[in-house]
Symmetry: C2
C-alpha cells in the first residue's frame, strides 16, 4: 500500500516517528509473547501502543511485516560471539546461545512466528536469511581458529560446521517437537565437531 510515497521515517526520523515505532514494536512483542502469532491484531497492537490504528496500517500494513521488523531490530541488538580458546567451548557457547534464543519467552515465539511467516512471505524469508547469514558469519571464525590450532582439518568448511550446530535445535523446535534442553545443545556441538574431525565438512575429502 501507499507505494507512491516515501518510506515513513526516512525524511523525519526524529522524535515522534521514532517514539511511535518503538511503542508499536514493544506492543507487538508483548502481544506475540502473551497471546501468540495467531492472535496478533493490528488494531489491538495500535491501542496497546497508544497509537492510531491508521498509523500502524500505514507503516506496516500486515502482521507479517510488523513481525519482520521486529526481527530486523533483533539483528541490530545481537550479541557478539564469545572466545573460549577451544572449539568445543566456542561451539558449545554458540549452541547455548541458539538454545537460549529459541526458549526465551519473548524471542522464542518471535522466531517461531518469523519462520512461519517466512514460509509464505518472501520479504520475511529474505530478512531471515540475512539474520542467519550474519550469525554464521559472526561465528564461523571460531572454526578457522580451531583449524589453525589443528583441532579440525585445515580445509573444514566453517559455515557448514556452524549450521550443523544450529540444525538439531531448530529441527526440534519446528518439526519433531522433541524437548529442547541444554543436553541437546551440548550434543549438537559435540556432534558437529566429531563430523568435522572425520572430514565430513572438508570439500576436498569426498
Amino acid at each position: 500500500m501507499t507505494a507512491d510515497e516515501a518510506e515513513p521515517g526516512t525524511l523525519r526520523p526524529g522524535g515522534r516517528t521514532a517514539r511511535v515505532r518503538a511503542a508499536v514494536l514493544r506492543a507487538a512483542g508483548d502481544v506475540l509473547a502473551e497471546r501468540g502469532f495467531a492472535h496478533m491484531d493490528l488494531a489491538d497492537i495500535a491501542q496497546r501502543a497508544g497509537v492510531g490504528k491508521t498509523t500502524v496500517y500505514r507503516r506496516w500494513g500486515t502482521v507479517t511485516a510488523l513481525v519482520t521488523d521486529l526481527l530486523t531490530e533483533m539483528i541490530e541488538s545481537s550479541l557478539p560471539r564469545t572466545y573460549t580458546g577451544s572449539l568445543l567451548g566456542d561451539l558449545g557457547a554458540h549452541a547455548r546461545l541458539v538454545h537460549t534464543t529459541l526458549t526465551d519467552p519473548r524471542q522464542g515465539p518471535l522466531f517461531k512466528a518469523v519462520i512461519a511467516a517466512a514460509t509464505y512471505d518472501e520479504r520475511t524469508a529474505a530478512a531471515l536469511r540475512r539474520f542467519y547469514d550474519a550469525r554464521i558469519t559472526e561465528w564461523a571464525p571460531c572454526v578457522r581458529e580451531a583449524a589453525a590450532r589443528g583441532e579440525v582439518p585445515e580445509d573444514t568448511d566453517p559455515r557448514e560446521v556452524i549450521r550443523a550446530v544450529s540444525a538439531p535445535l531448530y529441527y526440534r523446535l519446528l518439526a519433531s517437537g522433541d524437548p529442547l534442553d541444554e543436553t541437546t545443545a551440548d550434543r549438537a556441538a559435540k556432534a558437529a565437531i566429531a563430523a568435522a574431525r572425520a572430514g565430513i565438512f572438508s570439500p576436498g575429502k569426498r
Copy 2:
C-alpha cells in the same frame, strides 16, 4: 464449531462422504502447490472440488485443519524404509527420502505449510509430532542393526541418529534458506554416522 454433533464421516463413511473428502483434499493440495499457503481460501477450494462451501466449512472449518488432514493422509501412504546392508546406505536412503519429500512440488509446500501452522496450532503440532514419531520409529532399526554389525557403538541412541540425519535438511528449508540438494543430504548421513562412531549419541559415554 459444531461441537455437539458427531464427527462427519464416522456414521456414513461410504460413497459420497468419501468422494467429497477425496475431492476437497485433492483440490486443497492443488491450491497449496500452485498458489501457496497464503492464498488458500476455503470457498475457492470448495469450488475447485465441485463441492458446496458450507460442506468444507462444516467438515474442516479452517485452512489449518484442512492442511493437517492433508498431512494425516500422507502419513498413511508413507513409504516403507529400505534395506541396503550398511549404515551409510540406509541413512543415505533416509536422507534422500527427506530431501525428496521436502523438494517435491506437492509435498514440499505441504510440509512448509504444516510446519508453519504447527507453530501456532496445537492440533497441527500434534499431527506433526505423530508424523515424525512414526518416521523415526520406522528408520531407527537400521541403527540397531548397524550396532549389531559393530558399525557404531552398542549403546548408540537410534532415534537420535535418525533425527541428526533429518535436522540439517529441515534447517535449510525453514531457517537459513540455503540450497537443499543431494550433497547436503549425503553429508547429513555421513555426519550423523561420524558423530555416532565418536559416541556422541551414546548415553553412557559422556
